[in-house]
Assembly symmetry: C2
Homo-oligomer: 598 residues x 2
């Protein structure tokens, strides 16, 4: 298996208690049974359609042939299946043909798809993201023109942001938009690079949600607008070429099955772009949707990590090699390597990072549901918490996913380095996540420079209050006299205090932004570890309480949870000692280093 259905149920129903969402009017038609049906369907498609293509999509990567990117021939049927089964617009309103599925359940499903075959899962959910942007900010006419074919899986949606000179620095976008005689229609000219699913032969058309600059508009970030730029224009019932050319397909280290395109837009007569919403609001629109996309990236990282963890766990249980250290009998049989402490350490490392991250990501999804479908202070607070946690939810799993997949490779040893096993593929795939949807460096600056301070620091106050609720729960309500939980709760209390001290210290430097933000990436790592420790105390508290009556496999599962929590505190939380030390140091070596001293 490539994920644990038991663990997913634990997060959804025992920790987060996702059924509570059905008390909100938007989700009133759902219940635990309908949630389970969704997850079961996701598991079924994943096993039967996605997983069998995992290896072949890596080996036979997309190629540009006669100006068109050719992807694996089965992708067309898969994308249509996602459309037919209603996955692409599942979270949207009934009146749009959606199912008003909570993001929490939707993201749990994407976790399953991504663990089965990350490349294949990219196509339909890019369309979901693009459609969401269109339906949130576009006119009814635009929505009607494009979204039905997108929901059906016949047209691909993309986010077209990056340009050769505008990657992390989006305000430097130079693709231009010139008004035509038709209101709302513009001629778009420029080029875009690294556009995921930007062109391929598994769909009939591609709709780019593209950032461009209306001529004569303000410079910088304030002059960027959002357009729908189709590869082919729907006109009078037919599709007309719209002057969006595919200049190339990038070959990548991993997730090779999903093509990344280099696009030339409007190099002949100019491509027609349809303005989405108001002019010059493009970056604002994009960033309103970005939180969800970023939680999605974190989820993808956990998916790939989980697939690698499962593969290494299977191997560790089956591969005999060596003997227990204390074994003295010559000629005794070799034991499965899971019996070696160092292998168990590498397995616990993966388990604690991945299950902790999954908990955090589903928690963030739950906040997204409360923020969108809830009301009043609950919704506002959830929005603030989601906003604060987004850079962590994106970056912590992405950075750590590189290390957990590396541990999976190490458990397999020489076998793990060969293409005979899938872990080397997961290792290559995991490496994209610290890069796309904002690099880790960008998220560090977002967290420390924006999220921590905005709204008078209310997000951090709310988060710490949540953590303290978890501590109270662990030490009193559910689990009286549980010394293990009390021990973990005390460590979390210390970590929160360490985080508060470091934050206060850094905010004292805020008048010098260069100094203030120099180590923002380390601050992000620090904050991420404390956040995961909070998640693990929640999981441990639930597990400890459940152990009172659990039997058999269930008892084993809860014991595993408690051990993983202990592992995280012993081996990971302890790293905040070193991080706090560095973050409060007055040696500004990265700022004092000269470029020509390297």
């Amino acid at each position: 298996m490539f994920y644990s259905p038991r663990d997913l149920r634990f997060h959804l129903y025992e920790v987060i208690q996702a059924e509570k969402l059905t008390q909100l009017p938007r989700f009133a038609d759902h219940d635990r049974t309908s949630f389970d049906m969704v997850l079961e369907a996701a598991g079924q498609i994943s096993e039967t359609l996605l997983r069998p293509l995992l290896t072949v999509m890596d080996r036979e990567e997309p190629q540009l042939v006669d100006g068109k990117i050719r992807v694996h021939p089965q992708m067309a049927a898969i994308i249509r299946r996602f459309g037919d089964d209603g996955w692409i617009n599942a979270p949207f309103d009934y009146k749009e043909g959606g199912q008003q599925l909570p993001t929490t359940i939707m993201n749990a499903a994407t976790f399953i798809f991504g663990a089965a075959n990350y490349s294949a899962s990219v196509f339909p959910f890019l369309t979901t993201g693009a459609a969401n942007l269109l339906r949130s900010f576009g006119s009814k006419e635009l929505v009607d023109r494009f979204t039905p074919m997108m929901y059906a899986g016949r047209w691909q949606g993309t986010m077209a942001l990056t340009e050769p000179d505008a990657g992390s620095s989006l305000s430097d976008i130079s693709t231009s938009a010139e008004p035509t005689d038709v209101p709302g229609e513009y001629r778009i000219r420029g080029q875009k690079i690294y556009i995921s699913a930007g062109d391929h032969d598994a769909c009939e058309n591609v709709v780019h949600l593209m950032l461009a600059r209306i001529k004569g508009g303000p410079a910088g970030a304030k002059g960027i607008s959002l357009f729908a730029v189709p590869q082919k224009r729907p006109e009078l019932g037919t599709l007309v070429d719209n002057d969006v050319q595919t200049a190339g397909v990038y070959h990548k280290m991993g997730y090779k099955g999903a093509p990344i395109a280099h696009l030339m837009i409007g190099s002949a007569e100019g491509a027609v772009g349809y303005l989405v919403g108001e002019p010059h609001q493009g970056l604002r629109y994009m960033f309103q949707m970005m939180n969800e996309a970023r939680v999605g990236v974190g989820m993808n990282a956990v998916s790939i990590g989980t697939a690698a963890y499962c593969a290494s766990l299977d191997y560790a249980r089956e591969r005999p090699q060596g003997r227990p250290i204390a074994e003295k009998t010559a000629g005794s049989p070799q034991v499965p390597i899971i019996h070696h402490a160092d292998v168990r350490r590498m397995l616990l490392f993966q388990k604690s990072v991945l299950e902790g991250s999954l908990g955090l990501l589903l928690q963030c999804s739950y906040y997204a549901d409360l923020a969108h479908a809830g009301e009043g202070e609950t919704a506002q607070n959830a929005a603030l918490l989601l906003d604060l946690l987004t850079p962590i939810a994106k970056s912590y799993p992405s950075e750590m996913g590189c290390l957990t997949t590396s541990a999976a490779v190490q458990i397999l040893g020489g076998a793990g380095y060969t293409t005979d096993f899938p872990v080397e593929q997961f290792y290559r795939e995991a490496r994209i996540h610290p890069i796309h949807e904002g690099t880790t460096g960008i998220h560090g600056i977002d967290l420390l420079g924006r999220k921590v301070t905005q709204h008078g620091g209310k997000g951090v106050q709310l988060l710490i209050a949540e953590m303290q609720k978890t501590i109270a729960d662990a030490t009193t309500y559910r689990a009286t006299n549980m010394p293990e939980l009390t021990y973990l709760a005390d460590r979390l209390r210390e970590a929160i205090s360490r985080l508060t001290n470091v934050t206060t210290y850094l905010l004292g430097l805020a008048s010098n932004p260069t100094l203030f933000l120099a180590d923002a990436t380390l601050y992000l790592e620090f904050f991420g570890i404390v956040t995961l420790a909070w998640q693990w105390l929640r999981q441990a508290t639930v597990a400890q309480a459940a152990l009172a009556t659990a039997q058999g496999d269930d008892a084993a599962f809860y014991h595993g949870k408690l051990m993983a929590a202990r592992y995280f505190y012993e081996y990971e939380l302890v790293k905040t000692l070193a991080l706090a030390h560095r973050l409060q140091s007055t040696d500004h070596v990265t700022l004092e280093m000269h470029s020509d001293w390297f």
Copy 2:
């Protein structure tokens, strides 16, 4: 450029003072000029022959065709060139046709070759290793039969250890050897896997230095013997097939240009193997050579890391993106990303880890020279220091090379993930080193379970004495009143004391080997960081002294050294706080976890 000749000269001539080796009789014919000629020749071959094939050897990987592995067609000429120029036997005696080149200089040359093209550099130096085993323990007859063609680059040498059921657990080798009527000749039967350069069409023959078990010998490690098993037997001036079949070539994540073979030995009439040395001494012989091979692996890791560092440094200097954080002027030009603190942090991370590791590896090579060519206590102490430091010199650069190449990818961002730039290749190549020549887990157990305690702990005492000499040097002799050096020296003193405390604590657990060695991998990491800090204080002391008179580029170079030393202490040495905390914890979670709780 793919390495820094200036930095290499700094290590060799300013820190280690490799010219002192020429005072030893074995190296008396050498001088600084001859050393420089060797390094210049290595640079020249690397640039003109090896580097141009870096990408193509990755893209067109070896294939098994009609039972023979086909490698890149230029490899034949390259291996012959290494033979013709005397590289393969350069460190060996004059009387064997060698040049008695110090290992220190030889390893500096392999550093250059590996940075140019790791895959290509593997072939000739595997032959060196195999020949060294043969000449050290084999009869004159065997040496004469095999080594001339190996030195000429016409026959490939290999180390054939691993079997399907014997990877980390070498004592489980089952390949069998049956005596024939000819003294010293045996019939060998079995299979070997993951044999580097185990078969290919760039040489005329392959000589495997193979471990096998003589029938009727003792069980376990004590019954393993060493054989020379050629692919083709030289008989009466011709080469006769020796029943060594290539069953497959493994496809790997990286260093794809070097083939790794699956061999079936003696499946028909049995392969003839020539016993090397005495029966049942195979593992002992192999491990006597292993120290050098392991230092070589560490060096390869630094080579690949250095190539990635250079590529990311070039990119950071040239790629404009974003503006300084304090820049407020809209429309100001973008700056090269090397001006961003987080990019400088990632560059300093690479520089400090790689140049610190290179220093350590050359230091170990120098100990190897003293141990082999020196006399009396100096030679004995050097051997002890080399023995102690080998697991660190192998594992620290290997583990960290995965992270430094990752930082290089991150600096290039999306570009780094594509095959348009070489950093993704380096990232894939780096991942082998924590696996081959003993996994990191094996080296942790070797360090804590054997090297720290053997000879009454004399190795550790000698090492700490060396570190204290460095501290004394930094604080008094060369650099009076250098507050920066004093600061670093104080930190190193603390770290040594932390290391001593942790070691003492762990040795207190030695009566329970399972407990004692459970976190040996973390101990290895801890010890490695302290060792690198020692190396950096040495480098900083030399740099600080040289700055008194240095000008221009030289001054910039020494400033860079001091900054990298500060970086290492600020961001890396500080990690020992967390490691020491964990290593002294009484929570034995990896031992208490049950296999069925995962």
